[in-house]
């Protein structure tokens, strides 16, 4: 469930995740001399400058600040500071880098002129301590100004289309997704277990077979097996292929963590209530309710993993799984379309539900353990909603098993492209990225930029501001608080009309990278890039992105959709040992990576890089 944190009365000042030091004596003095709003004059000088929307200090927008003593314009070895007491601008260089006219100004004024503001960063500096200082009031004024400015520059569609962040979903699906579950991070022992248990997966199983059929099969990685179409079930097959080759999921089932024989036996005990552990056939078969309680999607997954990773290479029919899933999905009254993404969501739900039902004792709070579906796929989204009037921000955290992304609206405006550019810095494939931006091709990174961009909520979506005590216009920004082991991105290619019927499919091409760095979209990066080094007027306690290697992901499966809305076909491309395979129901073929790059991606599955490499290392075909 989402936890709401309103940190206005929070006494622990935090700067980008670190508890701040006390203000220096100079800043404390300054504050005590100016009780009410000491930075009022500065507020009028705050300018938010595109590109990037950085805050700067200028008395009028066209001012070119220069050092009052030497005329230096800053930027070289020096920075320019404006004294917050008298507004005089001076240069400053660290010891050894040249003179500091700002420090000289502070000294000659004999007290009261130590605190200055960096004119190009709008960050406070104490010229006596020669160090950055932080002030909550000042920082919230800057954050509010940046917030207001970012909405002025927003392209018109984001004003008129209220929150387009998530696809509106059928009510009960949405509710189910908000079930109280804890994310799980593997501890070092579990990580090494995952890593080590994936190495036996090489293709040497059928060494003893000598017929030509199995010899050609040996060239395929282990576990690559077609799935028979059971009547328009490509929506299911496509997702199952991705799940069967999701490294942490595969390792879980192949290491017998959910044993179907044990699970069914246990369920029957519970169902009969006699506790003797003997399967009672009569009871099991004529009691529908009992039958439902025995239905376990994880057991069916277990059976499927066993079958697919056996020696048998003939296409497999996931009939049992389809039946179980159908029973589960039938309870979801609004399940209408056979959509691969909805199937994915509902089957993760199904696995979760069963496991939760089985639990006798409430699971321990701290270690964040849940069903295998959520251990692998669940991350946490952070959403900051800021009141446009007073700057009060309400932060919520929501678990998610995937991220649904809007395709960018048809390109054309070059202003928009510039605004999405800054995030790409740390992602590879820079050349192709830049060229794609010039040619206006949508990219996955572009979608993620849009997803994490501040967005003004429409007037029909005013939120209740706890500080103003009325409904106010607001600004919403999404970011990723915690990355899952496997990130699934769902591209909203199906546009639903208000009557919740599919109305249209968007066929536009979307470029996606084989390696993806998620660091730019983490909460810590988003907040820092937007606002600089500040005390946030809201919860800024975020783990440092660059400390975690886990932000690097590798693509391992792409579910594609071709054709029309109702007469379409799903196909999955799998990347095993850095070789791509096309899984088209029963048919598996090896394909060139360019075919994958050109495909119309509907769902993209990325796994944390360290798990991907561990999983593929020893699988290279002879």
């Amino acid at each position: 469930m989402s936890s709401k944190i309103n940190s206005n009365n929070n006494n622990n000042h935090r700067i980008n995740g670190q508890i701040s030091l006390q203000p220096c004596t100079h800043l404390a003095d300054f504050r005590s001399r100016h009780r009410s709003n000491p930075f009022r004059a500065l507020q009028d000088c705050l300018r938010i400058k595109p590109p990037g929307g950085r805050a700067a200090i200028r008395r009028d927008p066209s001012e070119v600040p220069l050092c009052g003593v030497c005329g230096d314009s800053g930027g070289g070895r020096t920075r320019l500071y404006a004294c917050v007491s008298c507004a005089a601008v001076h240069c400053h260089a660290p010891p050894g880098g040249g003179p500091s006219h700002a420090a000289a100004h502070a000294e000659s004024a004999r007290g009261g002129h130590e605190i200055a503001v960096d004119v190009d960063r709008a960050e406070l500096f104490c010229c006596a301590c020669r160090d950055q200082v932080y002030d909550r009031d000042f920082d919230s004024a800057v954050v509010l100004a940046q917030t207001a400015a970012s909405t002025l520059h927003a392209p018109p569609h984001s004003v008129t289309t209220p929150t387009t962040i998530r696809l509106p979903q059928p009510e009960n699906l949405r509710k189910r997704r908000r079930i109280d579950y804890r994310p799980w991070t593997p501890d070092p022992r579990e990580r090494s277990l995952m890593g080590s248990s994936s190495s036996p997966l090489n293709g040497t199983v059928s060494d003893s077979d000598s017929n030509s059929d199995s010899r050609s099969n040996d060239l395929l990685p282990w576990g690559l097996r077609g799935l028979n179409n059971l009547g328009n079930t490509c929506f299911m097959n496509s997702v199952l292929q991705a799940l069967l080759h999701t490294p942490p999921l595969r390792n879980y089932f192949l290491s017998d963590r959910h044993n179907r024989f044990y699970c069914q036996k246990k369920s029957n005990c519970n169902g009969n209530g006699n506790g003797d552990g003997i399967v009672n056939r009569r009871n099991a078969s004529n009691n529908e309710r009992n039958n439902n309680s025995r239905m376990c999607l994880a057991c069916d997954m277990d059976a499927m993993f066993s079958a697919v990773f056996s020696r048998d290479r003939k296409p497999y029919s996931p009939a049992k799984f389809l039946y179980s899933w159908w029973q589960h999905a039938a309870n979801l009254a609004s399940y209408e379309q056979q959509d691969a993404h909805e199937f994915f969501i509902s089957m993760l739900d199904g696995i979760h539900e069963k496991v939760e039902k089985e639990r006798r004792k409430p699971h321990s709070q701290g270690n964040g353990d849940c069903c295998i579906a959520h251990r692998v796929f669940s991350g946490i989204l952070r959403s900051d909603v800021m009141c446009m009037t007073c700057g009060f921000t309400s932060t919520t955290y929501d678990p998610c098993v995937d991220i649904s992304l809007d395709l960018e609206p048809n390109q054309g405006g070059s202003a928009k492209m510039a605004s999405t550019k800054s995030n790409h810095a740390s992602n590879g494939e820079v050349d192709c990225l830049n060229s794609s931006q010039n040619s206006g091709i949508s990219t996955l990174m572009g979608c993620l930029d849009r997803f994490t961009r501040p967005e003004r909520l429409g007037t029909d979506q005013k939120f209740f501001c706890q500080q103003c005590q009325v409904r106010q216009e607001s600004l919403k920004q999404m970011s990723i608080r915690k990355l899952p082991l496997v990130s699934c991105f769902h591209i909203k290619r199906f546009e639903h009309s208000s009557t919740r019927k599919m109305s249209r499919k968007v066929d536009r091409y979307l470029q996606f990278p084989f390696s993806l760095d998620m660091a730019p979209y983490l909460s810590s990066s988003i907040l820092r890039r937007r606002f600089g080094n500040r005390i946030f007027p809201f919860d800024g306690d975020e783990p440092e992105a660059s400390n975690e290697l886990s932000s690097e992901f590798e693509l391992f499966a792409v579910v594609t959709h071709t054709g029309k809305l109702d007469a379409g076909h799903y196909v999955t491309y799998l990347r095993l040992s850095n070789q791509w395979y096309k899984c088209d129901d029963a048919w598996i073929t090896q394909v060139n990576e360019n075919i994958v790059r050109a495909a119309q991606g509907y769902m993209m599955f990325y796994v944390q890089k360290m798990l991907y490499y561990k999983a593929s290392e020893k699988q290279v075909a002879a």
Partner: protein
Amino acid sequence: MRPSVNRPPTPDVQENQEKEPTLQETINIKLIESGEKERLMELLRERLVECGWKDEMKAICRAFIKKKGRNNVTVDDLVHVITPKGRASVPDSIKAELLQRIRKFLVSAAL
């Protein structure tokens, strides 16, 4: 007595700058006035992140803070420590790209 906060821009700069500004100063001011400097800075930031320069500087800062203890380091100390390394390790390709941009700007500004 504290001077007024709302004092107009200090006039002494213009007085001190009676002498002809150097070409470098003129270019610098043109860059600032046109907003090109801001765009160049943004480009430079982006490039320095891409090539790993920023991570490298971050690592040096972290190591320095670790050595000195986190309460005994000022921003000035950090700038002082990384400036020589930072200047030396900017890739030539980035310098060339920026120089190219500045040249283009000068032509278009017809200085």
